[in-house]
């Protein structure tokens, strides 16, 4: 440990620390970029050209930027699905499963009522998606609230069950005439409207509104205050008359509902069909984004953006560089590693 600083040099030291932190951060991000560059080089690709393409293809054109925004939509929602329960100390690792169930519920409405007009059908699908996600979260929430089983374990266990149920529904009942692994295309009324000829759909607006709502509720309402109390000390909060159990169950369900909404947005806004295994880790990605952002709404927005740039860039990279698409996960993971291993200076007092 360092010596306690003199009074006069305290500010100097702070400045010194902040500077070191910045350098540390930048050098580690550079490390992630270099490491992936080396990997590209080993597999016979030109790293500089690849990076240039990732950047120009995503941030360099209106179309690329719109694709980044499209990719952000489910991430914002699944991150929120983790952030809300985390405010009362709940760890929701079940976004993946909740997303699938939400998508299934919304699909049921789309397939059952194809003749309803969009202003009725879309809200119905969104509502059902939220109900589905909430149902998938209520058991873990309840078991946690009565102190029986830890919610981390239960949400994790329920994740792999959800896509299998979807498989059951698609193969058994919902598959299209020619396909066995997806439903028929949704009617136009069951599709979230898109904007400006891009694939950006209404889900983006919904996600942003929910993000702002989250910030307002946490900062300015009695609920936010009570949740902070529970977060700091659940038992003290309970003795002060805050209804602990209802909070735990309700927050878990709200988290599940938002993840379910993400599923609805994916099938209604993005795909237009329900596909088998359509989400490769979106729920887990939301967990990571929320964790790295510390549950902060602005941080969630920022992290989702960064992750989306990488993923979208990788998508285009595959077309032009004949790398396996999954390879972009390396750059993503390296970036995540860097942020996870961030200098302890940022988090607090420990050097």
């Amino acid at each position: 440990m360092t010596q306690p600083p003199d009074r006069g040099s305290l500010r100097q030291l702070l400045g010194h620390k902040a500077w070191r932190t910045t350098v540390h951060y930048l050098s580690m991000i550079l490390l992630a970029v270099l490491l992936f560059g080396a990997i590209l080089l080993i597999s016979g690709k030109d790293p500089i050209q690849s990076y240039k393409e990732i950047l120009t293809s995503t941030l360099g054109s209106a179309y690329g930027l719109s694709e980044v925004l499209v990719a952000m939509i489910p991430m914002l929602l699944t991150a929120l699905a983790v952030a809300l329960p985390s405010r009362v100390g709940l760890i929701n690792v079940g976004g993946e499963g909740q997303l699938y169930i939400g998508a299934a519920f919304a699909t049921w409405a789309a397939l059952t009522f194809p003749n309803l007009p969009a202003p009725v059908l879309l809200p119905l699908m969104a509502l059902l998606g939220m109900v589905g996600g909430a149902l998938w979260a209520v058991v873990p929430g309840y078991l946690k609230a009565i102190g029986l089983v830890n919610e981390t374990i239960t949400t994790l266990l329920l994740n792999p069950v959800a896509p299998k149920l979807i498989g059951f529904l698609i193969f058994g009942f919902w598959h299209a005439a020619m396909d066995t692994d997806k439903t028929s295309k949704f009617v136009p009324a069951a599709r979230l409207p898109t904007f400006l000829g891009t694939r950006i759909h209404l889900g983006l607006g919904i996600a942003i509104v929910l993000l702002v709502l989250y910030w307002v509720v946490m900062k300015y309402t009695r609920w936010g205050l009570e949740m902070r109390a529970i977060w700091q000390n659940p038992q003290a909060a309970r003795r002060n008359g805050i209804p602990l159990k209802p909070y735990l169950i309700v927050m878990m369900c709200i988290g599940g509902a938002i993840a379910g909404l993400a599923g609805m947005a994916q099938v209604s806004g993005f795909y237009g069909v329900l596909l088998l295994n359509f989400s490769t880790g979106l729920g887990f990605m939301g967990f990571l984004i929320c964790w790295l952002a510390g549950g902060d709404p602005l941080g969630i927005l920022l992290m989702s953006f960064v992750v989306s740039v990488i993923m979208t860039g990788g998508n285009l990279l595959q077309l032009t560089r004949d790398l396996p698409y999954a390879a972009i996960n390396i750059l993503l993971a390296l970036t995540l590693f860097v942020v996870l291993a961030r200098p302890t200076l940022i988090r607090g007092e420990r050097a």
């Binding site: 266990l157 792999p160 059951f168 396996p324 996870l340």
Partner: protein, 305 residues
Amino acid sequence: MSLLSIVGVLSSAIFSGTSLLYVTLGEVIGERAGIVNLGLEGVMLVSAATGVAVTAETGNPFLGVLAAALAGGSMNMVLGYLVIHRQANQLASGLALMFFGFGLSALIGGPYVGAKIHALPRILLPGLASLPRLYASLFSFDPLIYLVLPAAILTWWLLFRTRWGLGLRAVGENADIAYASGRNPRLIRYQALFVGGVFAGVGAAQLSIAYAMTWTEYMTAGRGFIAVALVIFSRWHPLRAVAGALLFSGAVAFQLLLQSSGVRISPFLLDTIPYLLTLGVLILWGGTRRQSAPASLGRVYQGTE
């Protein structure tokens, strides 16, 4: 239904259960030292791809298994650096490791998609040499299958009968007290993660080199998460993990049997049984001391400077 098809089903259940048991044993070791690894899926994928790549290049499947084991150990060292050294959150680090594994395995395995490799040799169960050839092929298993039960016993012995295991479990229960009694929690956790990664690597090798005999992207299909569930199911005990793996392969076998006998139950629904059963068991045990999770599982060891 013929005897042959029943035997065939049991044989394939053994193949699919073995890789899972190896991975579960590795995760038991890691969690006993207090570290939960949600990145097992990624660790397995990288090991499976490395195993196939090395086998294809050298033509020697045993070298492939060795490479897969080392790859698993190295992947877990990445997690170790994050959660032990940098004190990052274990769940988030594990998930990041999973995405890392998705990418790295696709890159390593990419050139070998569809490649034919020398699979591990299969050895007929001793004493069955007089069986007709059709049956004999169903009773021939690769060496890793024969080694999995000894591996479970070895894990049990390491954890419960050696000083190293005692220290490892002490670190998992309370790292500070373990430190006070002269152990090095960080070192022990690194060791536990490495051994756990080696186990996961061997399990993945069994999957890719012995069973599937090829590499396909995402070929582990959720086994990493099943292993995490089975660790809980077996209450962090290597011998009960055998029962957990049996349960899982039993469910697979049951499903295949039903299908071959013409009963129409969706395989998707049967696939959910192991998870729901684990959940049910957790609820039954909940609130009692029988749950016996390592007390400091998932906690960061701050150290005492």
